[in-house]
Amino acid sequence: MSSYLIGLLVGIGAGLLILAVTKFRTRNRSMSVAEQAEFLSKRRARMLPALAVIFLAQQASYFSTPATTAPRPVDTVKISAWLVLSIVLLAALATKGFWGHSREVRNLIDDENTRANRNRAMQSGFLFAMGAGVCVYITTMFIPVTTREAVHIMMSAGIATALIQWGYLERRAYRDA
């Protein structure tokens, strides 16, 4: 078995372990629907900036890789990991998230203020993605940029901005006057 496959399996295993621990921690407490929604909503507010940092750190790892003519297996793993994380984050941004919880809890978490915050974050994400697109377009006049790099930059700019903005708005919403 190659070391890359082992690394990928270890990564998936760690992710599943984190999911199991968080699920166990939530299940262990006998909470009402409102309390569960409050607990999960606060956790999301803390997690969003952390996810943005992880996502951005992944970009550094991607762009620090020296350009080679032949793609190496490790590059494929990196790109796949980035793509999977991007899809998961996009799904979390576009839907109510917390897929493992009951509909009642999910509906309560996604209340009016959360929807407004999420929409504002998506709006900022879209604008930053478009801004990144303009920057990439100008850059191509001076240095060559591959299609994959351009898509990568635009998607990353959009998703990271939306995550940071949503995290900021959610944290602000919990602040008392």
């Binding site: 409102a34 929604a37 409050e38 909503s41 309560l108 978490i109 209340d111 009016e112 203020n113 959360t114 407004a116 959610e170 602000r172 919403a173 919990y174 008392d176 006057a177």
Partner: protein, 75 residues
Amino acid sequence: MSGARTGMPERLANRLKERRTELGLTQAELAERVGVTRKTVNTVENGVFTPSATLAIKLAHALDLSVEQTFWIEP
């Protein structure tokens, strides 16, 4: 003259906190009554978030007030 006519910024003021305290309710209890999270009640109380007409009516009813008594526009 209203703020909209003069071009002055307007904000939606409310007496949610005052009335909630009068009734001895916590933010969480009020939130549960109207079916939102405590965060939403907190942002409406602080004037950070302008609620929809539906939520404004629900909040006013939960506090035994009319919408006009609960919310008003301040220039």
